[in-house]
């Protein structure tokens, strides 16, 4: 909502932050009071300010992942007050502004927690499992230079638009962190649907979905039990309808694979 507060009104909050020195160290919450919080400050800018304060006091700053700070790279990844990316709707952590909080609030800040995302330090986790899923089949095999003229394959506008809806996924992992089973279905479904909706993606459609689902299972993500917590926290509001779409693709591909030599269903990069 539009805030009526002028940018001059500073306020105070307490950050209750998960601190953990490394994957095998034990972790705990530590409180950091923050005064002079401006409503126009982003949440990550507040972490910057707190970190500078810790540094000059000779304490180790809070490690947190971030880069673009405009909601597109998918690096930032805090669970804030129990919700991945915090209280906003359709935004990433870096797009959260302090005007969403009020004077005196205690804000609980944790890493994205999931078995397949091992903790690195404090608020930073290892999400390389997502890359491994992509490497298993998240592509259309086309050698550089081997492409036909771009307009030789028309794509119905509705298909292109729907593919684009799925393709906006920023690979942040909030969907996994929000899911009680730590399932990666929304992420995988988004990629499978994007490529499966494009005519260019048809030749590898079956192979792709089988390979990506297999890689997802191997990475230790949980099963989907249709709770849809994922799309509720997704910064790009990717709809869980894509999960249903992927399930259909998967069943179809499994069925077809039965009537083919085994090798063609084994996926992998090609």
């Amino acid at each position: 909502m539009v805030s009526e507060r002028s940018s001059k009104e500073f306020f105070a909050v307490t950050l209750r932050v998960w601190r953990q020195a490394g994957p095998s160290a034990s972790g705990r919450f530590v409180d950091y009071p923050a005064t002079n919080v401006s409503p126009d400050m982003s949440f990550l800018e507040l972490l910057d300010v707190v970190n500078d304060g810790l540094t000059v006091k000779d304490e180790e700053p809070i490690a947190f992942a971030h880069d673009c700070r405009e909601g597109i790279c998918g690096t930032c990844s805090c669970t804030i007050n129990g919700k991945p990316h915090g209280p906003g709707h359709g935004i990433a952590t870096c797009q959260l502004y302090m005007r969403s909080f009020k004077d005196g609030d205690t804000i609980i800040v944790e890493p994205f927690r999931a078995r397949a995302f091992p903790l690195v330090k404090d608020l930073v986790t290892d999400r390389s499992a997502f890359d491994r899923i992509q490497q298993a089949g998240g592509f259309i095999s086309v050698r550089t230079g081997a492409a036909p003229d771009a307009n030789s394959i028309p794509v119905p506008k509705d298909d292109a638009d729907l593919a684009m809806d799925a393709a906006t996924c920023i690979g942040c992992g909030a969907c996994v962190a929000a899911c009680k089973n730590a399932s990666a279905m929304l992420f995988v479904a988004a990629k499978v649907s994007h490529l499966g909706l494009m005519p260019q993606g048809q030749p590898e459609r079956d192979k792709r979905v089988l390979a990506m689902v297999q890689a997802m299972d191997e990475a230790g993500f949980g099963n989907c039990t249709n709770q849809y917590e994922c799309s509720a926290v997704c910064p790009k509001l990717i709809t869980h309808d894509f999960i249903a779409r992927m399930n259909r693709d998967y069943v179809k591909a499994l069925f077809k694979a039965k009537f083919k030599p085994v090798s063609s269903a084994s996926g992998g990069a090609g």
Binding site: L44, V56, C73, G74, Y97, D131, V142, G145, A160, A167
Partner: protein, 640 residues
């Protein structure tokens, strides 16, 4: 003195690249797997290069400081990518794209490179469409185009306001495919901290694992840097917080020349600064200038008045007034400087006085609110998130911000630096944009370099290197470079001063913005050249870097990058001071026409300045590469 041979092939402009491709030395297919190539960076240029080279059979190792290649900042490009497809039949051609780019760069780019860029632009669109990039489509299913950033034809392809994201994900998918197939060995969370030069050739890098702190040596037959631009030297910019110059800067200190460091691009449409805590400036795509009208109040005293209360007659639509034929669509540098002039006159809006209005009320009248929402809804949402204001009801406030650096490591026509074996692609090199880059040209260049140039040109070098001849990592040069990195890390951790890294970065940024930003003067630059070394000295005496080198330590990472910026900033000012002319993004107040436009001096400065490192605290050497305009006439760049 470095040898700068541009190696531009002879013959007519339009034949150069084709001929060069047929004459270039090739590596026998069976030998390709015997060559190892290091690619640093996995944005558009790096991912495209790594994937394409691996497809050809080379062994590729790709290093990124991010936790995944998909995070590279190419992902944030909004507007689009140019290509001379002429699908709209509106008179576009390779020659027109070439000419627009040369003129847009204010006649400070190499003609042959730019022509090649325009030629391969068409292949890029084919490649990306085949990868499944969901470009915007018309109802007939064919690709949609728009006019963008000062072009008079519709040649920009786009994917909503997220073109960079979709192109990067396309390149990332190609890279992922080759990682899966074993053609590329991917090293994430890995930052290059030195270049290893053996017998004058680039043969390896030193890398720190950002998670474990382990420092490793990597050898190769050739090293490719595709590590992006250095705009974060200004601290506040539209770059990602992590974007840095470390890879190219350390290569510079190993002998690679730095071309035109002072050429920086200030983007006219960004959200203004709101406070001292600010970490980042957010760009509002310049596609907004297609429908938004830019203005400031005619009278100073109205500058704090509610904009909707200022009557039409009291508004100055200054771009439309000064540049009647291009109006709100004039190039970025021109629009940015005009905004600065308005604010300097005291007519800037918002609390700080550093802002101008971008007004959509006419567009809303014409297209309806829903029409505007359809075109720009996501940008209006971003604006609302950041400022808590609705641009449907009140004009946006915008102000210029640092957005891109046209300068970078010097490369020849093959994209090889003066250090043999070192190739530099994308924003990290200086090559194609001259003194100013046109909108939707950065994505084009990154992908051109990565997909369509380097796969050919790298073989010209490798064919001269015996397979298996790369030096071992036990070599003295590797040991020395590793020692160099370890010593710097130790030194940063041991200073134990009083101020955090950000303190120095902010101060450097203020000096750079003030004296080496949108408008530069001799006295200002001279002052900066005193202040920066002093600040650097203070940094090395008083910075506080907590923690250890043996774990994830973001303060340490940042300290190393800011240490480099503190040196690079000085070189930029030196370059800006020496270039006694105005051109594109480099505006020297002493050199302007009466109407405030850039006054070039082609006779004295129709060249590339390629700076060569001479050692710590020694002035670098200024080499030049003359720009011979054979095919276009250098003329005054006018958008009136």
């Amino acid at each position: 003195m470095a040898k700068l041979e541009a190696k531009v092939p002879s013959g007519p402009l339009a034949d150069k690249w084709r001929r060069h491709k047929t004459e270039i030395k090739l590596v026998n297919p069976a030998n390709k797997r015997k060559y190892e190539i290091i690619v640093v960076g996995a944005g558009l240029a790096g991912s495209a290069a790594a994937a394409s080279l691996a497809e050809l059979g080379y062994k590729v190792r790709c290093f990124v400081f991010h936790d995944s290649p998909r995070r590279a900042h190419s992902i944030a490009a909004q507007g689009g990518i140019n290509a001379a497809k002429n699908y709209q039949n509106d008179g576009d051609s390779v020659h027109r794209l070439f000419y627009d780019t040369i003129k847009g760069g204010d006649y400070r780019a190499r003609e042959a490179n730019v022509h090649r860029l325009a030629e391969v632009s068409v292949n890029i669109i084919d490649q990306c469409a085949a990868q499944g990039v969901p470009f915007a489509r018309e109802y007939d299913g064919l690709l949609a185009n728009r006019s963008f950033g000062g072009a008079q034809v519709s040649r920009t392809f786009y994917a909503r306001g997220q073109t960079g994201q979709q192109l990067l994900l396309g390149a990332y998918s190609a890279l992922s495919r080759m990682v899966g197939a074993g053609g590329v060995e991917l090293h994430t969370d890995s930052e290059m901290l030195d270049l290893v030069v053996v017998n004058g050739h680039a043969k390896g890098i030193i890398v720190r694992d950002l998670v474990t702190g382990v420092i490793r040596r990597h050898n190769a037959d050739a090293v490719i840097l595709a590590t992006g631009g250095y705009g974060n030297v200004f601290n506040l910019s539209t770059y990602a917080r992590g974007s840095n110059a470390t890879a190219i800067w350390r290569a510079y200190k190993r002998g690679a020349c730095f071309g035109n460091p002072c050429y920086t691009q200030i983007h006219p449409t960004c959200i203004p600064v709101s406070g001292d805590y600010q970490s980042k400036l957010t760009l509002m795509s310049e596609s907004l200038r297609n429908d938004g009208r830019i203005w400031v109040p005619k009278k100073k005293e109205n500058r704090l008045k509610k904009p909707t209360d200022i009557p039409e007659a009291d508004r100055d639509y200054y771009l439309e007034r000064i540049y009647p034929s291009f109006g709100n669509l004039c190039p970025r540098d021109v629009a940015s400087r005009a905004a600065k002039r308005m604010c300097d006159e005291g007519r800037g809006v918002g609390e700080s006085g550093l802002g101008v209005y971008l007004d959509f009320s006419d567009a809303i009248k014409r297209l309806g609110e829903s029409g505007v929402r359809e075109r720009y809804g996501n940008l209006f949402d971003i604006y609302h998130e950041i400022t808590a204001e609705s641009a449907y009801q009140t004009p946006m406030r915008i102000f210029p911000a640092v957005h891109y650096t046209m300068g970078g490591l010097w490369v020849d026509y093959n994209l090889m630096s003066n250090l043999p074996g070192l190739f530099v692609l994308g924003e990290a090199n200086f090559s194609d944009h001259g003194a100013n880059r046109l909108g939707a040209s950065a994505l084009m260049q990154g992908l051109a370099d990565g997909y369509f140039v380097i796969p050919y040109t790298v073989s010209d070098y490798l064919a001269g290197q015996k397979p298996g001849s790369r030096p071992s990592i036990d070599n003295a040069e590797f040991a020395q470079a590793e020692e160099n990195v370890t010593a710097m890390t130790k030194r940063l951790l041991s200073i134990n001063g009083k101020e955090p890294v950000s303190h120095f970065h902010k101060r450097l940024g203020r000096i750079m913005w003030e004296f080496c930003g949108m408008a530069r003067t001799k006295p200002g630059l001279e002052l900066a050249l005193q202040q920066i070394p002093a600040l650097r000295e203070e940094f090395w005496r008083n910075v506080k870097v907590p923690g250890s080198a043996a774990t994830l330590n973001q303060s340490l990472e940042q300290a190393g990058r800011v240490a480099d910026f503190l040196e690079l900033g000085e070189l930029m000012c030196r370059d800006a001071l020496t270039r006694e002319e105005s051109c594109g993004g480099h505006f020297r107040e002493e050199h302007q026409y009466e109407d405030g436009e850039c006054k070039r001096d082609d006779e004295k400065f129709g060249h590339v300045a390629a700076w060569e490192y001479q050692g710590e605290d020694v002035a670098p050497l200024r080499n030049t590469e003359p720009l011979n305009y054979e095919f276009t006439k250098m003329s005054v760049r006018s958008y009136k």
